[in-house]
């Protein structure tokens, strides 16, 4: 993987958000490089989803900036950011519930100015749910529905993709396959930002990891560094790292 990268796919500078006097994010800095899978971890309520909303334009930060490919997008709306190559999935599913899986992806494809040679069926195949392409997505099991959301996000051929707990609802084998897919996406030169509670996959596939706690960034580094960081262990992992777990 590249050691030195020209511009970050995403750069978050000093972002703060408060909800009714409670700081959800305080001066968070974070960057995602193209070609890398970057993890974002932290306990529930740490502000991960809020940060995703700030990055994708669903939440306006009180202060701070968001840059995509070096361009300040803090004032742009969600759809403008998507046009600049930002895609995301949602922790609580935001599918087009009354459409089929195929049509969900097709809406994404149709939104593009140049279609490329992607097809809805091809994208569903890629995430592994092509068998259920014609089912109404609201009837799909959660895990599969998440994968449809991922396929839909990929339909806009994003340069940067934000994934909010994509593995919840998946079994071990599916999680493993998804991990491989995320690596593949990074290898295609995309930046991937992954929020996930499944620590084994985070530690396995991420190049770098950022740790949020109570709205503050408390650590960042390679998986190996994160495992060793005492504050991370205290705040998140809860226990000393298990030496039997594989290094990234």
């Amino acid at each position: 993987m590249p050691e030195m990268v020209e511009t970050s796919a995403l750069e978050v500078r000093g972002v703060s958000v408060t909800f009714g006097g409670i700081a959800a994010l305080q001066g968070v800095n974070l960057d995602v490089r193209p070609g890398e899978v970057t993890g974002l971890i932290g306990p529930n309520g740490a502000g991960k989803t809020t940060l995703f909303n700030v990055i994708s334009g669903l939440q306006r930060p009180d202060s701070g900036e968001v840059l995509l490919d070096g361009r300040d997008v803090t004032k742009l709306g969600t759809n403008r950011r998507a046009r600049l190559g930002l895609a995301r999935t949602f922790q609580r599913l935001e599918l087009f519930g009354s459409l089929s899986a195929r049509d969900n992806v097709q809406v994404g494809l149709d939104a593009r100015r140049d279609k490329g040679d992607l097809t809805a069926q091809g994208l569903l195949h890629r995430v592994g749910v092509s068998a259920d392409a014609d089912r109404q997505v609201s009837t799909l099991p959660t895990g599969e529905a998440r994968l449809v959301e991922l396929a839909r996000a990929l339909a806009i051929d994003p340069k940067l993709i934000l994934l909010d707990e994509p593995c919840s609802g998946l079994d071990d084998n599916e999680t493993h396959l998804l991990g491989n897919l995320l690596r593949e996406l990074a290898d295609e030169g995309r930046g991937v930002l992954l929020v996930e509670h499944d620590m084994s996959i985070v530690l396995t596939i991420c190049d770098r990891i950022f740790v949020l706690d109570f709205g503050e960034l408390i650590a960042s580094g390679t998986p190996a560094e994160i495992r060793r960081d005492p504050r991370v262990q205290a705040a998140y992992l809860g226990t000393a790292p298990d030496p039997s777990e594989p290094e990234a």
């Binding site: 669903l58 969600t78 759809n79 949602f90 935001e94 087009f96 809406v107 089912r135």
Partner: protein, 637 residues
């Protein structure tokens, strides 16, 4: 100076009533998530009940007050909550709006049946007693209104901040799940929200009625207090009570000053409509000032299976059958029925515009008949009272343009705001334009001719009926083709999740505006054909209430299917015919029909056509919705 002070006093007094109305709306909306369009209707019903008790039965006014405010209003609230509203918590904006609109029509229908039109008035409290302040004579009643409003404001503040059940009401706004975990019952909180809302509505209705010198107790006027209420509430973004209160006072002052100083500067016939037009102008200004709401991930998956969309072949097959039935009907139906059915089919085209904007895109429009009127009016002007295809084209374009402009201020905001804006627009268009003799003289009718195709005369009523039936099926085929197109898929996606829609790079605002303009244009086509039947557009046909009824009828039959549009349009045209053959209570029939619609809507989102047993047994190929094979229920997260 005295004049100014006099207007100020009048403004503050009516502003105090609007503040009470708006406060009630906000309390119910924030605690239950249901925006009660029937809020004004509740005020109306309470005022009429109070009139009945004090004026007709001669009760002591204090006793009547207690009965109306503390017995009737709370019981009505509990009944409504129990029967309809409790099924709506967490429902879509469209569903909850429809139910509260249905309640509005029920209350209006009941009131029309119980209290036939006649001049009624309520005396002021302590009539004849006045005080004088800076040379301005103020009645005791006016003083009481202001004091009551202040007491309500203070009382609510204490209740919501210091009383346990009041704090729970505030908590439910923030997080109902958390509240439930803390041991409070969200259902009980919702009930308090309804009771408090109905109480405040009833209070406002009784307080304002004695001030209505000219029209006296008036069903429409009181029912439409809801428009004043929400115009004020928008200042508080439908949430903040102090701002809502300020909004009410501001609206009252704006109205008083407009009444005081505008005459002489505006067309003379608009002067009598200032009290109707002020809240609408106020509303649109407030909409422009309110900061836009951010898109939010709703985290709710649409679970209802949508009706299957007919293919082109199926829709053509269904259309042929439909026209064949229409041709057959011309041999069976008598003269006046032909006219009503023709207008019903034209209303069906307007209903198709609702399928597009509400059924597919999930945006509630309550002013489609206004666009119908605009289409017919433009035709009349362009074709000088006749009909021409150019007139149709220009009419359609004007409708689209007006639609885009009307929707513009509300698009930055959530779906509810569009519904509020369109209702206000329908109201303003009727009073400010269609029923206004400066624009439409001759008793509110403009001559409109019948469109025809070369070689085929449509001057006969039967021929015209078939012509309109053909126009309907063409529009229906078009709407279904839109639904199958890239754009149609996009509209459904927009409805299901605006946030996800935006994350794919599409602008929800632009899409909403386009679909709104398109539906306005389609309603304009319906209007041209509708007015062609009696050869005139009558102002009464484009009243706001008529728009509401059409929306409800279409909803009853299924707002996502073209069959629903056909049946809804026909029902809207034929029901008045039926009620005219009934005795005195017939005028309330529409309300009863709406009640049936409400019960259905609260249970079956797809209306009558969505009731499985009905569809399974009766299926018209191509036009009936076919339900997808049932699959297992959605798996929870």
């Amino acid at each position: 100076m005295t004049t100014f002070l006099t207007f100020t006093v009048i403004g503050i007094v009516s502003g105090a009533v609007y503040a009470i109305v708006a406060t009630g709306l906000v309390v119910t909306y924030t605690t239950t998530g249901v925006f009660n369009f029937a809020h004004g209707a509740v005020a109306m019903f309470a005022a009429f009940s109070y009139w009945q008790m004090t004026q007709s039965w001669g009760w002591n006014s204090l006793l009547a007050l207690v009965v109306v405010l503390f017995i009737e209003a709370p019981l009505l609230a509990l009944f409504v909550e129990e029967t309809y509203m409790r099924r709506l918590y967490g429902a879509t904006v469209v569903r909850s709006l429809m139910v509260s609109l249905g309640l509005l029509l029920i209350l209006v229908g009941l009131a029309q049946a119980i209290w036939p039109a006649e001049q009624r008035s309520l005396p002021e409290f302590f009539a004849g007693h006045t005080v004088s302040l800076f040379n301005v004579v103020i009645t005791y009643h006016q003083v009481i209104v202001v004091i009551v409003a202040i007491l309500i404001a203070i009382g609510l503040r204490i209740y919501l901040r210091q009383v346990r059940s009041g704090i729970a009401m505030r908590a439910v706004v923030d997080d109902p799940d958390l509240l439930a975990m803390a041991g409070a019952s969200p259902r009980r909180v919702a009930r308090s929200g309804w009771i408090l809302g109905f109480f405040l509505a009833a209070l406002a209705g009784i307080l304002i009625s004695p001030e209505l010198q000219v029209q006296g107790l008036d069903i429409n006027f009181l029912t439409l207090l809801v428009v004043n209420g929400y115009a004020a509430a928008i200042v508080g973004r439908l949430r903040n009570l102090p701002w809502t209160f300020a909004g009410g006072i501001a609206l009252g002052l704006a109205e008083a000053y407009a009444t005081g100083y505008l005459p002489g500067h505006i067309p003379v016939n608009l002067v009598s409509e200032i009290s109707v037009l002020t809240p609408v102008v106020f509303l649109f200004v407030a909409l422009l000032v309110v900061p836009s709401s951010r898109l939010r991930a709703v985290g709710r998956l649409t679970v209802a299976t949508p009706p299957r969309v007919a293919s082109l072949v199926e829709s053509i097959r269904g259309s042929v059958l439909f026209v064949a039935i229409a041709v057959g009907a011309t041999f069976v139906l008598g003269g006046s029925m032909i006219g009503s059915v023709t207008q019903g089919l034209a209303l069906g085209i307007v209903a198709l515009s609702l399928i597009l904007v509400t059924g597919y895109a999930g945006q509630v429009s309550l002013c489609q008949l206004t666009f119908m009127g605009i289409g017919a009016f433009v035709m009349s002007k362009v074709a000088s009272g006749g009909a021409s295809w150019w007139g149709l084209i220009i009419g359609v374009l004007v409708c689209a343009a007006v639609g885009a402009i009307v929707s513009l201020p509300a698009l930055r905001l959530q779906g509810l705001y569009l519904a509020l804006a369109t209702l206000a627009f329908a109201q303003a268009a009727y009073y400010g334009f269609f029923s206004n003799i400066s624009f439409i003289p001759q008793g509110g009718a403009v001559p409109v001719g019948r469109l025809s195709i070369p070689g085929i005369s449509t001057s006969g009523d039967k021929a015209y009926m078939v012509f309109v039936a053909v126009a309907f099926v063409l529009c229906a085929i078009g709407v279904l083709a839109i639904r199958r197109s890239v754009w149609g898929r996009r509209l459904v996606a927009l409805n299901d999740s605006p946030a996800a829609f935006a994350t794919l790079g599409m602008s929800p605002q632009l899409s909403k505006m386009l679909v709104f303009a398109a539906s306005a244009a389609l309603a304009g086509i319906g209007g041209v054909l509708y007015a062609g039947q009696p050869l005139a557009l009558n102002a009464n046909d484009v009243q706001m209430f008529a728009s509401l009824e059409l929306v409800l009828f279409v909803t009853i039959f299924g707002i996502r299917t073209v069959t629903g549009a056909a049946l809804g349009g026909l029902a809207a045209a034929l029901l008045p015919l039926a009620s005219s053959h009934l005795p005195w209570w017939g005028t309330g029939l529409t309300g009863v029909a709406a009640g049936v619609g409400i019960s259905l809507m609260a249970n079956v989102p797809d209306g009558v056509l969505g009731v499985p047993w009905l569809v399974r047994n009766v299926r018209i190929p191509g036009i009936s919705p076919r339900r997808a094979p049932s699959i297992e229920a959605v798996q929870g997260a």
